[in-house]
């Protein structure tokens, strides 16, 4: 065995350790990242949000989502049955109360009894400009909703720019709203 061979053997010996270190780095980065591995990217990102026609929970009048075009808005999917929505709600109230806040549309998703939804908004406050209802969940399916709360950030052209799964934070809302206005 000559010196050249000895060198090659040493190089191979390091490889498992390099792989291990690489794995450690990858795992650590994923552990630290804020990406929820369970959140599924929406196929509507960068595409027009599907339109829907339903009624408004509070006024009872017809609601056509196509009428929202021209202004950026947040479509927030909630239900009085959803505990995480109740946790998120004060943040929406807080955002809606700020100056220059964009409209939040609250899709009342799979509400068994509309009175539950009304009572819920009465109790926790209403940050929503409109509250379209989706009792059988069909609008939710068309939007690709798989749990509440979910929020779609839609720009003035009606294009979905961001979808948030789970409760929003004020930081995320402000960040994404800025991106929405920049998109125009």
């Amino acid at each position: 065995m000559n010196a050249r061979d000895a060198k090659t053997i040493r190089w191979w010996a390091i490889l498992p350790f390099l792989l291990f270190a690489y794995l450690c780095v990858i795992l650590y980065l994923n552990l630290k990242s804020e990406n929820d591995p369970k959140s599924v990217p929406s196929p509507f990102l960068g595409k027009p949000i599907p339109t829907f026609v339903t009624t408004d929970l509070l006024t009872g009048s017809a609601f056509d989502s196509a009428s929202l075009k021209g202004q950026p808005y947040i479509l927030n999917v909630w239900g009085s049955w959803c505990p995480e929505c109740a946790r998120e709600h004060p943040i929406l109230n807080q955002y809606a109360a700020t100056a220059n806040a964009i409209a939040i549309i609250g899709l009342d998703h799979k509400e068994v009894d509309p009175n539950d939804g009304k009572a819920w908004l009465e109790r926790l406050g209403n940050p929503y400009r409109f509250v379209p209802v989706d009792p059988d969940g069909r609008i939710g399916i068309d939007l690709g909703v798989y749990g509440a709360p979910e929020s779609y950030f839609v720009d003035a052209a009606g294009i979905v720019r961001y979808k948030h799964i789970g409760a929003l934070s004020l930081k995320i809302i402000n960040e994404k709203v800025v991106e929405l206005s920049r998109a125009n």
């Binding site: 065995m1 061979d5 053997i9 191979w12 369970k38 599924v40 990217p41 929406s42 196929p43 799979k110 059988d136 969940g137 399916i141 068309d142 939007l143 690709g144 798989y146 749990g147």
Partner: protein, 231 residues
């Protein structure tokens, strides 16, 4: 002793009779595609008997020696229990979960024939439940899975093909909704990487083998020593 405190709910006699398929004389209004497999697992281990024992206050050996106070504690909190009794309870609870679990979620879907039912089950097994993510649409009992099963069924009724239904769901939920990932720009590395890695490995082995041969021939010529393995 009796364990009436464990479950105070009245005995529901309908609960003791597992759902039956309409073909086997079940009520088509409330029972959909309860597969024989589901009914079989349910009856096989005598789950109704165990449940009856609990709800009717029959003596169960695992609870022997427990005072009523202990059992009351069971229903409210676990304080005051010895580890042995706790273990016995855990075992019983585990056993019960074994009995009551079923591999198919049951919906009241009015299938016209067996072929349609089989087609539905096959399709539902190929679609992912987005709420639970580790289950397919056929297995899951989540609200969304129920809605999507209903939707898949309706689309089947309206004459849509399996591919149509999958396209419909992918448009809304993305590729994640199907278990078989398509080859596209995003998933290409997943398909190519193993092949590439394997090719590199094979290449390296061939290179080494050839070089060793050459080296050995040279060393043989020079020194006339026998072959040396270097790895």
């Amino acid at each position: 002793m009796r364990i009436k405190h464990l479950a105070s709910a009245p005995v529901d006699s309908t609960d003791l009779n597992p759902p039956r398929h309409p073909r086997e004389g079940g009520d088509p209004g409330t029972v959909g595609f309860a597969l024989p497999r589901y009914q079989f697992t349910y009856q096989q281990f005598g789950a109704p008997i165990v449940r009856q024992a609990i709800t009717q206050g029959t003596w169960i050996p695992a609870f022997a020696g427990m005072t009523n106070g202990n059992l009351q504690a069971l229903t409210t909190n676990f304080a005051g229990m010895t580890s042995g009794k706790l273990r016995a309870l855990t075992l019983l609870v585990l056993a019960l979960t074994l009995f009551t679990s079923s591999s198919f979620a049951v919906d009241p879907l009015p299938f016209e024939n067996r072929a349609e039912e089989v087609r539905f089950q096959k399709l539902a097994a190929e679609l992912r439940c987005l709420q639970c993510q580790n289950q397919n649409l056929a297995d899951s009992d989540s609200a969304l899975a129920k809605d999507l099963r209903k939707l898949v069924f309706e689309q089947m009724q309206s004459g849509k093909t399996d591919a149509d239904i999958k396209t419909f769901l992918i448009a809304r939920y993305g590729d994640f909704v199907i278990y078989d990932p398509p080859v596209n720009a995003q998933t290409a590395p997943l398909w190519i990487a193993p092949i590439l890695g394997f090719a590199v490995l094979i290449g390296a082995l061939i290179y080494r083998a050839r070089r060793n041969k050459t080296l050995n021939i040279i060393s043989d010529k020079n020194t006339h020593k026998p072959h040396q393995e270097d790895w």
